[in-house]
């Protein structure tokens, strides 16, 4: 699956939520959730559990709010759709490294700044997680309690969030300078280092997905 062109992976990941919303709520939602789960199961052994757990943890609060606000019907109808969005997003992140997507975008003539914005956003999450870990260690070393009841955890969260946000903002300036000096500026023509291979078959599949989504939408509106 990782060998597929990034645009094909994107098309699949976008088509599932689109189908979930276009198709009738219950049957459509169940079908798209099932399809997303199949995609997750097809990942490498270790990733299956990690991705499934992350998707479940992300979707669970949404299920709770839907149940509280709309009852069982809302939970089933909207919950299935939202679960499709969450599951397909996590699948995409697991299967598509940002640099590969950037290479595909640049090879297709997209502006480098747009590709960089996309890649940097995706890369920022793990980087922030690592820094948050360092900050927690540093705060613990200085006596902050991070384990215990909700109040203690809330206090620890505040002690973590402020330096995390401030340091990230501070870094923006230096990162801008570093990127400028390494040639990333407006209007550049970047050389794609390893453009992912594409094929007529994959292009046909992408067009097929698009046509199917438009046709399904037209059918639902009619």
């Amino acid at each position: 699956m990782r060998r597929l062109h990034p645009f094909t992976l994107l098309a699949v990941a976008a088509a599932l939520p689109a189908a979930a919303w276009i198709a009738p709520p219950r049957t459509g939602g169940m079908a798209t959730v099932a399809a997303a789960l199949v995609l997750i199961v097809l990942l490498d052994g270790r990733q299956v559990f990690t991705v499934a757990r992350a998707a479940a943890f992300t979707a669970a609060p949404l299920w709770l709010f839907l149940f509280v606000l709309h009852g069982t019907t809302g939970l089933v109808e909207t919950g299935l759709r939202l679960t499709t969005v969450v599951a397909s997003s996590f699948w995409l992140v697991a299967v598509l490294p940002p640099p590969r997507l950037v290479e595909a975008m640049i090879a297709r003539g997209w502006p480098v700044s747009a590709a960089f914005l996309f890649s940097a956003t995706l890369s920022a999450v793990p980087a922030l997680r690592v820094r948050a870990g360092h900050l927690v260690d540093a705060q613990r070393a200085r006596g902050l309690r991070t384990r215990g009841g909700p109040l203690i955890r809330l206090r620890a969260l505040r002690a973590l969030a402020v330096p995390l946000v401030l340091s990230a903002l501070h870094e923006v300036d230096e990162r801008t300078l570093a990127l400028e000096t390494r040639g990333l500026g407006p209007g550049i023509k970047r050389t794609p280092l390893a453009p992912p291979p594409d094929s007529a078959m994959q292009r046909a599949v992408r067009w097929g997905i698009l046509v199917a989504c438009v046709a399904a939408l037209a059918w639902r509106i009619a």
């Binding site: 980087a127 230096e174 300078l177 390494r182 040639g183 550049i188």
Partner: protein, 261 residues
């Protein structure tokens, strides 16, 4: 023939009333290594930003005076983790980031990346994820990324800050090699012990002004460097100064041995 020239440059950061640089003039020849020293806040980093055409173009602020740079200037900042591109999953791709942005053909990029990695002795890291590197390893990789762009003028801000002594010596050797090949090098550093063997000239900045400028061997031996708010000199010169031995102070152990003989 100078590759970089600053002529009576004054610079003030946005939203600041204090001038970070005041009437600074400096010329750097091809093949020359110029070290910029000074106490914290003296303006060394700002001087590099101005020379790299990043201040005021990117950081904002107000500049008067003239800056001329013949050829491409590349800047290495002191914090390697803020210089990672975020667009590379391997060290090789990270080093190739700059050359790719210049639109070079892939063959030229490959040659340049291999040479740069070899220079900083980081070839073994080529397939590693940059996010998994130590601070020192990352510093070398970022330096390789800058070198791979084949700059005519290399500007370095504390390039050895994250490195162990062996790594630091390697970086100084790389700078000597680059200068030997014709690049102009300006390095802001607090690693003063490395300067006698590396720098041709030293510029001493104080409160944004060029306080003194001269040959490294002469300026670093000056007793003025041990006055309050001065940056100091090499460890050997410091011992010599504290022992109140006659000036000029020797800069290295080898100098001391030579003088004793």
């Amino acid at each position: 023939m100078s590759v970089l020239a600053l002529d009576r440059v004054t610079f003030r950061y946005p939203a600041s009333t204090v001038r970070a640089l005041v009437n600074c003039s400096l010329e750097v020849d091809a093949g020359e290594i110029v070290a910029v020293i000074g106490a914290t806040g003296a303006g060394a980093s700002t001087l590099l930003l101005v020379a790299a055409d990043l201040a005021p173009r990117v950081v904002g602020g107000e500049l008067t005076g003239q800056v001329r740079c013949d050829g491409r200037a590349a800047l290495l900042l002191p914090t390697p983790w803020t210089q990672v591109s975020g667009m590379a999953s391997t060290v090789w791709d990270e080093v190739a980031f700059g050359p790719a942005n210049l639109g070079w053909p892939r063959e030229r990029i490959a040659t340049s990346v291999e040479r740069a990695l070899k220079r900083v002795d980081s070839g073994a890291l080529r397939d590693r994820d940059p996010a998994t590197l130590s601070g020192g390893e990352l510093q070398c990789v970022i330096l390789a990324g800058v070198l791979a762009m084949d700059p005519a003028v290399l500007l370095l801000d504390e390039p050895t800050a994250e490195l162990d002594p062996v790594g630091a010596e390697r970086v100084w050797q790389v700078l000597r090699d680059l200068a030997h090949e014709g690049a102009g090098v300006v390095v802001a550093t607090s690693d003063l012990d490395a300067l006698p063997g590396c720098a041709d000239r030293v510029v001493w900045l104080s409160q944004g002004r060029v306080h003194r400028c001269g040959l490294a061997a002469e300026l670093l031996a000056s007793p003025d460097l041990w006055e309050p708010d001065a940056p100091g000199s090499t460890a050997v010169a410091g011992v010599w100064h504290r022992a109140a031995l006659p000036a000029p102070a020797p800069l290295t152990v080898r100098d001391v041995v030579a003088r004793c003989r």
